[in-house]
């Protein structure tokens, strides 16, 4: 067989073999993503860290029986969300984590190439509209753009069908588009 793998696959095989170095690298690569992800659903950073701890201990304990072909990012997020659920339920009974989804978009104007006052206003409007989106749509946008997941994967994490997931995303985009159409100078006609 002729094959070259990008490094994720090799890292995962190391994890399955139980190699300490592979676990360390996995942690190095994904701890921040998991941390930020956890903070979307619960504000207590200590609990989020406990969940990361429990996730890695589980991976280590069951390393030999992990599935060989996985998208690591998706796999970790899915397992991590189970940990978050368990922790949330333990603390305050049966609660819906998704209802807690917190994300605030900001206009980091300093870091953007803004040409003139009108464009600044447009960007600010866009950020405001993004923040006004319903929690589920925000969550979807977050999973899509921030966690770099496919619709199929997002659907699994959000507990909805792939079709619903696509509809939800289309609706979010459509709404944005309509809101932005009324902007003083829409993004669409800039430049």
């Amino acid at each position: 067989m002729l094959e070259l793998f990008r490094d994720d696959a090799v890292l995962w095989r190391g994890v399955i073999r139980g190699e300490q170095e592979a676990f360390r690298q996995l942690y190095e690569a994904y701890a921040d993503l998991l941390y930020a992800h956890g903070l979307r659903y619960m504000s207590d950073a200590a609990t989020v860290k406990d969940c990361i701890h429990d996730l890695f201990i589980d991976l280590h304990t069951y390393h030999a029986s992990l599935a060989p072909e996985v998208n690591i990012r998706f796999y970790l997020l899915r397992s991590f969300r189970r940990k978050l659920h368990a922790a949330a339920n333990k603390a305050s009974g049966n609660i819906d984590l998704a209802a807690n989804f917190q994300l605030t978009f900001t206009d980091d104007i300093e870091k953007m190439l803004i040409r003139g006052e009108q464009e600044r206003e447009t960007v600010q409007l866009l950020v405001r509209k993004l923040n006004e989106l319903p929690a589920r749509q925000k969550e979807l946008i977050y999973l899509k753009f921030h966690c770099d997941l496919e619709y199929e994967e997002i659907a699994v994490l959000m507990g909805i069908s792939t079709a619903t997931c696509r509809t939800l995303s289309y609706r979010a985009i459509k709404q944005l588009r309509e809101e932005m159409a009324g902007a003083p100078l829409s993004l669409l006609s800039l430049f």
């Binding site: 094959e3 070259l4 190391g14 139980g18 942690y27 190095e28 903070l39 994300l103 899509k144």
Partner: protein, 369 residues
Amino acid sequence: MLLFIVNRFYAAQKQQLAWLKKLLGLRDADSSQLLSILSAAGNEKLPEDEKAALWTRIEAGMKQPVKRRIRPMFWKAAAAVILTAGATWLLWPSSPTQQALVAYAMSLPADSNLTETQLSLGAQRNILLPGKQTQLRYSDSGAVQSGDARYVQDNQHAFNTLNVPFGRIAKVTLQDGTQVWLNAGSRLVYPATFSNHAREVYVSGEAYFEVAANNAQPFKVYTGDVTVNVLGTSFNVSAYEQEAQAITLVAGKVNVEAGATQVTLTPGEQVSYAAQQQPNKISGTNTDAYTSWKDGIIIADHTPLHAILKKLSRYYNHTIIVNGQSGGDTFSGRLDLQKSLDEVLNTIGQTTDMDINRQAGRIILESKR
């Protein structure tokens, strides 16, 4: 690893930009603005100290004996170490034959124009052994068997030399049963039969050793600058000219001397010597990545592209270089060297998304632009 994640991030971003453009009908510049807004939020990072503390906690948790898996192979290797590796190896007196062997090896010409593997019995008798992979076996008397041919030594204690040019590899079973795989562009010098107190060989280039256990006859490998002291064990020696020398231990135990420094290796450990520098020891190496060449496979393990190409250059005896900055990109996986060079290059081209061009006898990998 870091490089890889960065690459992946850009790939994902490109995809997302395309998605935004299509759905919103945005131009590139607008999509970038929107994407930077979307991905700027929710980016909390674990503070470095908390990140380190959490890993310490996880590491401690992993060491709790939840389920201790005992792998049979591990115990076999451990038993071999106990049987063969005594504590006496540091005390061996330096051997009188060492100087003769190393002096002889140093006196040999470079033979850089060889195109086939060559066996020399003493300084006079040179035998060409054509073929991609040569196999040799020594008998107790020092006679050499290669395929159907058999060569008897004029002098049992004469130094024999096996020269393996670029584009060829060889495996030799020495008189004591020790097996040595020689990589392309390598040379092994050794007596046809070993003396009673020591087994000593000289290597340049790269060799993998599976040393037959024998407490009474310590085995030593010399390179230009390094001496490896062994009992029964398996290890890889990489000592190409103008490259850092590296010893990688697969099983057993070895002691490596370079100048006044001594380093003891346990399985999975590697020590390397860059010019004018202190020995650098690392543990937990993927030893397969260093020894797989003997089975005609390159196993890359976070290996930079230029290093993979260097190995291919030696194995196929063809200059292969990479243009631009992609040489530092790392890859992992297997390349089967039984395939033709073209097939192997195609695989690399597809994985790296690079064009493969031939110019003036050289193969040049270039980023598609």
